[in-house]
């Protein structure tokens, strides 16, 4: 296989994202998967996207529109 490059978008490693680390992944054309050069995460585009959804678990109010910001 020739050297790896970027995929069609700059997918970041979802595992590293969850520890507040932004690191672009590379794409392995032979295995048809993205992989992280820092940690051991690797997965298809579909897997990356599903893990990105998982990464949002902490944003429990992400879809809420607040109208009050105090506790008075």
């Amino acid at each position: 296989m020739a050297q790896a490059g970027k995929g069609k978008l700059n997918y970041r490693c979802p595992s590293c994202f969850m520890r507040d680390l932004d690191i672009d992944m590379f794409y392995d054309t032979k295995k048809e998967e993205y992989y992280c050069i820092r940690c051991q995460y690797h997965g298809s585009e579909e897997d990356v996207l599903s893990k990105n959804e998982m990464a949002r678990f902490r944003y429990k109010a992400m879809r809420k529109r607040f109208t009050s910001f105090d506790f008075d």
């Binding site: 997918y11 996207l49 992400m62 879809r63 809420k64 607040f66 910001f69």
Partner: protein, 634 residues
């Protein structure tokens, strides 16, 4: 009548720091690429058009690279004439063929050059601006501008009165997020506009003699909870920050968090004399056609259009005033007085926790109170010390522009530590018959009140006076259960303007046994530093002072820090204090009760902290008041 002021700032970078790496995937780095330059100019045009479509004027921060582009100069002149946009001069966006040929470096951060180079670049960039436009700029910008650099800019170009001068809490957290490759640190500054002192950009001026001559604004308006704990670049008033944080619905591409962020900033007018502020400072790199992060170009574009669309809608409703940077500087100086603080009760708007912080910033300190930990003081910077911290090559400090902390609950633990040791925090512990509880274990909320004082403070334009105030947080009472005793604690926290102190009052009441007494320990555990890693504590002195006798004599207990885990106590102590020469700081605590016992505690190598405080016994309905004072120690 309240004012919500917004600065929209665009900078025509022609080789954006992000796009250069990202769009060039698989291609050798080449900042002369014409496609990169053309795309950057197109993005700049799109940004300008989007602002104008929404009825908003902008400040165009010309970059060095763009000053060589006739097209960029023409767009700026045209938009200035047609829309009233201000043309300022940025010190970001230095990279371009002309810069590299002249200075022979890939460095792009003006604050990290040597002073000699800073001067040469300022002369060059400002001179070129004047040559292209025929006037001097009134505003400038960077991610950080150190005090010496601001002073030099004012010398070369006295017309500059406003500058983007820091990125809030972009220190170790930003560094870690960027895979330990973002070698610049600027924690510990204000989150909202301020007047930098001549000594240190992060520390606001306390009067005309310290006034650097500019009004500083932070790079973006950040989420004051999310950015303190996480990556600053995910949670700010730049729509693509929100995309970087993945804070949008992937099915609908909706991002209500962004509007919540803007609205929470709007709500801060209640605590700042009817004034609230937002800024958006955007380069073109985020809007490149190849997309950014997981977001395709269409989403980037949508987020930008809708972000500015919301500002436009607010303006149409008469709820927003768009000013250019220099207009804002005039507004700010006529509105604010030198000792007037910036106050920000801040609610979690992302994680659904109902957590609440209170941020306070004035010329003497920056402080954060955490209501989720019973009103503990979890971050503290001694601006009264006005530390001179030269930064840049040749200063011995090339990268760290952060203002040091005494308390930082994330970098040096807080209430919770593993197995042993102590973390930095200012809190209180109650104990009774072998049981104890720290107020950090109590989740509560606070309410803000303020009261005018008799004393007056000079307006920042020196054309008038404004009455000083005392701000106060009243916390919802918390209940403690210590063995068979239940009781309530009411905490009130006061910030008297210009006094360089935090007063905390604790009242205990509603005892389940009226004859019971509880023991109160008011304490501060602190150290110093700018990162997670411990500094040498040698040289710190801890002390206890007795009250003065009639003859004026007083006794003293002293501990010179030697990591020996020693402690001292003094019945009836007047003051417990620490002198930290490394940050020219004197911090002390006093208590209202003459029967209290003062204490000081040295740490040890595994726990390189010190603690000072008081213990006192309280009965039903009694109160103890403490004063934490910050001063400069020469």
């Amino acid at each position: 009548m309240s004012d919500f002021i917004v600065n929209i700032i665009h900078r025509p970078e022609l080789a954006p720091e992000y796009a250069e790496k990202v769009t060039g995937s698989g291609k050798k780095e080449n900042i002369k690429r014409t496609d990169l330059r053309d795309e950057s100019l197109d993005i700049f045009r799109f940004q300008q058009e989007t602002a104008h479509k929404n009825g908003l004027k902008t400040t165009i921060q010309m970059t060095y690279a763009s000053l060589f582009s006739d097209e960029a100069v023409a767009i700026a002149k045209e938009d200035h004439a047609r829309w009233g946009d201000e043309i300022g001069l940025s010190l970001l966006g230095l990279p371009c063929p002309q810069f590299r040929e002249k200075y022979h470096t890939r460095e792009f951060c003006i604050w990290m050059f040597s002073m000699e180079e800073k001067k040469a670049i300022v002369d060059d960039v400002f001179g070129l601006f004047h040559e292209r436009f025929g006037f001097w700029p009134e505003s400038t910008s960077s991610y950080y501008l150190d005090a010496d650099l601001i002073h030099y800019i004012k010398t070369v170009c006295p017309s500059v009165k406003c500058a983007v001068a820091t990125c809030w809490e972009e220190g170790p957290k930003a560094y870690h997020t960027c895979n330990n490759s973002w070698y610049t640190f600027m924690d510990g500054g204000p989150w909202a506009p301020w007047i930098p002192s001549r000594q240190n950009t992060h520390a606001p001026a306390s009067g005309p003699e310290e006034d650097s001559g500019i009004v500083a604004i932070p790079h973006l308006s950040r989420d004051l909870i999310a950015c303190y704990d996480g990556n600053g670049s995910n949670f700010g008033t730049h729509p693509q920050n929100v995309l970087r944080g993945m804070i949008y619905d992937t099915a609908t591409w909706e991002f209500p968090y962004y509007y919540n962020l803007v609205d929470q900033y709007r709500s801060l007018e209640k605590y700042n004399d009817g004034y609230a502020y937002n800024m958006m400072f955007v380069g073109p790199g985020w809007l490149n056609r190849m997309g950014r992060w997981e977001a395709p170009y269409e989403l980037l574009k949508k987020s930008y259009e809708e972000g500015l669309g919301y500002y436009g809608e607010l303006k149409k409703r008469g709820e927003l005033t768009d000013l250019t940077m220099s207009e804002f500087a005039d507004y700010y100086r006529s509105k604010k007085s030198y000792h007037e603080p910036e106050c920000a009760p801040w609610r979690d708007i992302l994680y659904g926790s109902d957590k609440q912080l209170f941020w306070y910033c004035d010329a003497n300190m920056r402080a954060c109170i955490n209501m989720d930990q019973g009103g503990a003081l979890v971050d503290l910077r001694n601006y009264a010390a006005k530390l001179r911290i030269p930064v840049g090559v040749g200063t011995g400090n090339p990268v760290d522009a952060s203002y040091p902390f005494l308390i930082q609950e994330k970098y040096r633990a807080g209430y919770f530590t593993h197995y042993a040791g102590a973390g930095t925090i200012r809190s209180a512990v109650f104990s009774h018959q072998g049981y104890e509880a720290n107020l950090c274990q109590c989740r509560t909320h606070a309410h803000f009140i303020e009261e005018e004082l008799e004393e007056k403070d000079l307006l920042c334009n020196a054309k008038g006076w404004k009455k000083k105030k005392e701000r106060c947080l009243i916390l919802d009472p918390v209940e403690l259960e210590l063995g068979d005793l239940k009781f309530k604690v009411l905490t009130r926290i006061f910030f008297p303007e210009g006094e360089s102190l935090i007063k905390m009052a604790r009242k205990v009441y509603d005892f389940s046994r009226k004859d019971a007494k509880v023991s109160l320990k008011e304490y501060m555990t602190a150290c110093y530093g700018t990162t997670e890693y411990a500094q040498d504590m040698t040289g710190i002195t801890l002390g206890l002072d007795s009250p003065e006798s009639r003859s004026g004599a007083r006794s003293q207990e002293l501990l010179e820090y030697q990591y020996r885990d020693r402690s001292r106590r003094m019945e009836g102590a007047k003051r417990a204090w620490a002198v930290i020469p490394q940050i020219q700081t004197n911090v002390s605590m006093e208590i209202s009760r003459p029967d209290a016992c003062g204490f000081i505690e040295e740490g040890y190598a595994f726990s390189p902290m010190f603690t000072l405080g008081f213990t006192a016994d309280l009965s039903e309905g009694e109160e103890a008041v403490t004063w934490l004072r910050l001063a400069k120690e020469n």
